[in-house]
């Protein structure tokens, strides 16, 4: 049909054309407007099972990095003011290295007193010795005089008494010396106790005391350790495994561990031991008032050396092969 | 058979030269319990080259007869041959196609399609035959020109006068050159002068040696234009001749 432009019919040509064009536009609108429900890959890498476990039986767990010595919360045997802190967090220390020092003035004055008493006792000993010598010589003189008239009996007796008293004085002075020496030793021990030393070689993780603060032997209701340290070479990781899953774990096999937030950096961690005690799950995020009905088996693995990827206290995700007995 | 006076040729077999040949055509209508017989065994031959009138009062059965003769109403009894074809032995579709090819219709109320122009209306039989639309229009316009309304070809029927509409209807009946033209009361809606002009025109264009033309009418103003007049009364043909019998 030839279209006569001067004589276009609204109902026969324009309307159908509008309808067709409208339908085409509507179809475009409809298909371009369909919602995008395609699945997307996550932008940040989530923790994935390692390739060799991807489609095999496995057990997943989460855990926390800890020192291989476990965490040592260093305490103080005596109360007092801190006069000196000798370490900073991150320091590596040897066993016996001084960590911090508590005020030792009282102990030192006691020591000084004891030292004075030692000197005094020594003087008393020498005095007693010379007195004993004098008394012994006088007694020997009296005894060598045969003439009873020349030396009365009474004088002899007095000389004998003096000699014996001088002996006693000497023993007394010696006893005093020992006492003073003992006091001094005890004061020295006390002074030594006021210096807190590293129990093992390791790394200082936290230092919660500063010069001038008071440390108490009570250990505090707040239970914040003065200094926390531990052996961080190597690090261990303590993996919590749901008790329902626990029987499936292949104990002894290495685990694949990745830190939260860097899931693509997976490392192999060797089995160390499984804790004999199944404990309530400790959730790091929930409040202390949480009621718990989930118990977990804790399995400990040794992390390989990795520069700064893992730090003590960090949360990790772990995949452990399941035992052959499991399905 | 007292009413049958004439046309002894109609008795017996059909004359092969006859355009239409009916033998014993009877038609009953059921009206409730009753059966009314409208046609009583009509035997009739219609010849080509003549303007044949079928005349009768309302209810005489002339509409029924013409319907049966042009293949749109089945007779109860009897046979109808149109140019030798026994049309009621054809299948439904064949009969429709036979009509489309061989018969041109002029209806009393024209029945033009109001939303297409005169030329398109006149072209309808060609279009129904599957002739290309432009060619059909050209032939229709040529036919309208023969009917002296070529200049009205692009007008819609309601823009034309009654006489012009009648001519469009005639053009539609003749455009596909049918061998039989059936014309129902062509002058009923026209005044005497227009009626005569339409009849003159019909005689000019519709009557040909190989074409039969039947006009159903009871318009006595045009009886003098007939070549042959058949009078139908109560379902029987009572007169056959060039002129109307006395008393009508």
């Amino acid at each position: 049909m030839v279209i006569d432009w001067r004589n276009l019919s609204i109902s026969r040509q324009i309307l159908p054309a509008i309808a067709v064009i409208g339908l085409v536009i509507a179809a475009l609108f409809i298909f371009s407007g369909l919602p995008d429900r395609a699945l997307a890959e996550p932008e940040r890498e989530p923790a994935r099972a390692p390739a060799d476990l991807a489609n095999k039986a496995r057990v997943a767990g989460s855990g926390v990095v800890e020192p291989s010595s476990e965490l040592i919360q260093v305490g103080s045997a005596v109360s007092g003011l801190v006069t000196d802190v000798r370490v900073d967090p991150g320091d590596r220390v040897l066993a016996g290295q001084v960590l911090f020092v508590v005020d030792d003035r009282i102990a030192r004055s006691i020591l000084r007193e004891a030292d004075a008493a030692i000197v005094q006792a020594r003087a008393a000993i020498s005095e007693a010795r010379s007195a004993r010598t004098t008394a012994a010589r006088q007694l020997a003189l009296y005894r060598s005089v045969d003439d009873p008239a020349a030396v009365s009996r009474a004088e002899v007796i007095r000389a004998e008494g003096e000699a014996s008293a001088a002996n006693e004085r000497l023993r007394l002075a010696q006893a005093q010396l020992q006492a003073a020496q003992a006091r001094a030793a005890s004061a020295r021990t006390e002074i030594d106790r006021l210096v807190v030393r590293a129990p093992i070689a390791g790394e200082i993780l936290t230092v919660n005391i500063r010069k001038g603060e008071f440390v108490s032997t009570q250990g505090g209701g707040n239970a914040q350790a003065f200094i926390e340290m531990g052996q961080t070479q190597p690090l261990h990781v303590r993996i919590d495994i749901d008790e329902e899953q626990a029987p499936r774990v292949a104990l002894g096999k290495p685990a694949t561990v990745s830190p939260r937030g860097a899931a693509e950096r997976q490392v192999r961690a060797n089995f160390v031991r499984a804790e004999p005690l199944v404990v309530p799950k400790r959730s790091l995020t929930n409040s202390a008032a949480e009621r718990v009905d989930v118990r977990v088996l804790q399995v400990i693995y040794e992390l390989p050396a990795s520069d700064g990827l893992f730090r003590v206290g960090q949360q990790v995700d772990a995949y452990i092969p399941a035992g052959s007995a499991a399905k | 058979m007292s009413g049958v006076l004439l046309d002894t040729s109609a008795i017996g077999g059909c004359n092969p030269a006859a355009a239409i040949c009916t033998r014993g055509v009877t038609r009953d209508f059921k009206a409730g319990q009753q059966t009314i017989t409208v046609l009583h065994g009509i035997d009739l031959d219609v010849r080509s080259g003549e303007l044949t009138y079928l005349v009768g009062e309302s209810g005489s059965g002339k509409t029924t007869l013409i319907s049966i003769m042009c293949g749109i109403l089945w007779p109860t009894l009897g046979e109808v041959k149109v140019f030798g074809t026994d049309i009621y032995s054809l299948g439904d579709t064949e009969l429709v196609e036979f009509r489309l090819k061989n018969i041109g219709f002029i209806f009393q109320q024209y029945n033009l399609i109001p939303s297409i122009d005169a030329a398109s209306n006149a072209a309808v039989p060609l279009i129904a035959q599957g002739v290309d639309r432009n060619e059909a229009r050209e032939r229709a316009v040529a036919m309208l020109e023969r009917l002296n309304i070529g200049n009205q070809a692009a007008k819609l029927p309601n823009q034309l006068s009654g006489g012009q509409q009648q001519r469009v209807a005639i053009a539609r009946a003749l455009v596909h050159e049918p061998r039989l033209v059936v014309c129902d009361e062509p002058t009923a809606a026209l005044d005497a002068a227009s009626g005569r002009r339409v009849m003159d025109l019909l005689r000019d264009v519709a009557v040909a040696a190989d074409r039969a033309c039947i006009i159903v009418t009871h318009d006595n103003r045009i009886f003098d234009l007939a070549d042959r007049i058949l009078v139908l009364e109560d379902g029987r043909i009572t007169h056959d001749g060039k002129h109307m019998p006395e008393g009508h």
Binding site: F29, P35, R37 | F105, N111, I116, A128
Partner: protein, 378 residues
């Protein structure tokens, strides 16, 4: 003959436009109402589709939808991770809370806690800011519907402070998310942070979101997780379907919209049927004449079909365009955010239009076919 039929139809402007209007109205009513219905009930699935990364959602056995959930013990995460075929699994928290906005209003919000390390569980896109703001303390990301609800005066929500469970929360970004069925304000934050914002209960882990390993289908994985852990695992599509079903079962929405759609159909049948019948009755003489002249019933049928087809094309086209204009013009309104026309709905209304036209066309055609050609001589 077809063009004659079309001319006959368009020649009578009144009836032609009546027919077109009837079809267009039905199409508009059916398409538009079905669109709103589908979008409304799909709001039940929006929380699922807002998480673009999870193949499978794992939840407690009794959880039903993203909002109707019962939290699990925290070790469920590790149990899910232990299932072969699980590529990754992260915790996901969803809970309701009340928030006090800066000007002291109380508003119910849903808190979504996403995995701390990977932020899996956040919507794909942000309107303002980026997901990285969650690394700042006390950060939350609000969804854009929440902005409209909480900050009606149009001020910027960025750096606004909220109070949640006596905790401070600072809005630092706005997420581009499809609102939930109730259009509740949604605040996204880290899982650990969300634990502080939601009043304490024993278990908090609402869902575990799981990614499937390559080569494992989500459906397979869900079955495997259910078998291995005893938890309920649903694929993304299943879980979205659950959300939709929940709304269907718990609201009168389907019935109401069903009634409207049925009304659209009935009105269409009534208008089109009546007009078509009138049109055919007006033209019955012409059809009779055509039959007498020699047009077969099959051709007449094709003519009526062409008329119905033209009316259908125009009416349907205008109705669909009307729906598109409706959706398009309301797309900026937060209530209609994310509304779309599912491609099935225009097809449904097309079928409805075809049914209306077939029904009314058949009724009209019956009159024509019953007309005796002989009637033209009466």
């Amino acid at each position: 003959m077809i063009w004659i039929a079309i001319r006959m139809l368009t020649g009578d402007g009144q009836k032609f436009y009546g027919l077109v209007f009837g079809i267009a109205f039905s199409t508009l009513l059916i398409t538009q109402q079905l669109t709103i219905f589908v979008n409304l009930i799909e709001r039940g699935a929006s929380s699922v589709y807002n998480v673009p990364t999870a193949d499978v959602w794992v939840m407690d056995e009794v959880s039903r939808t993203t909002d109707v959930n019962y939290p699990m013990a925290s070790t469920a995460l590790d149990r899910v991770r232990s299932v072969p075929g699980v590529e990754w699994a992260v915790p996901h928290l969803r809970a309701g809370a009340s928030v006090r906005s800066g000007d002291g209003d109380l508003e119910g919000v849903s808190i979504v806690g996403v995995d701390d390390a990977t932020l899996i569980g956040l919507p794909l896109r942000m309107v303002t800011g980026s997901a990285d703001v969650l690394s700042q303390p006390d950060s939350v990301i609000i969804d854009d519907v929440g902005v409209a609800r909480l900050f009606e005066d149009g001020r910027s929500p960025i750096e606004e402070r909220l109070e949640l469970n006596d905790q401070r929360a600072v809005i630092r970004a706005v997420a581009d998310a499809i609102p939930s069925f109730t259009s509740q304000v949604t605040l996204y934050t880290k899982y650990s942070q969300a634990l502080r914002y939601v009043p304490g209960t024993r278990n908090r882990l609402s869902f575990v979101l799981v990614g499937a390993s390559p080569g494992v289908t989500a459906g397979e994985l869900a079955t495997r997780i259910e078998a291995a852990t005893g938890l309920r695992a649903r694929t993304r599509d299943q879980f979205a379907r659950d959300g939709v079903d929940f709304i269907i079962q718990n609201t009168g929405i389907p019935l109401n919209f069903g009634i409207t759609v049925a009304l659209g159909f009935i009105v269409g049948v009534a208008i089109v049927g009546l007009t078509f019948s009138l049109f055919i009755r007006d033209n019955i003489k012409q059809f009779g004449a055509l039959k007498a002249i020699g047009v077969t019933n099959a051709k007449i049928g094709r003519m009526v079909a062409a008329q119905a087809g033209l009316v259908g094309l125009i009416g349907y086209g205008l109705g669909v365009v009307g729906t598109v204009l409706f959706i398009w013009s309301f797309s900026a309104n937060p209530t209609f955010k994310g509304f779309y026309i599912p491609w099935q709905i225009p097809l449904i209304s097309l079928v409805a239009v075809a049914l209306i036209l077939a029904l009314t066309g058949w009724l009209a055609l019956r009159n024509v076919l019953r007309t005796e050609p002989a009637s033209v001589f009466r």
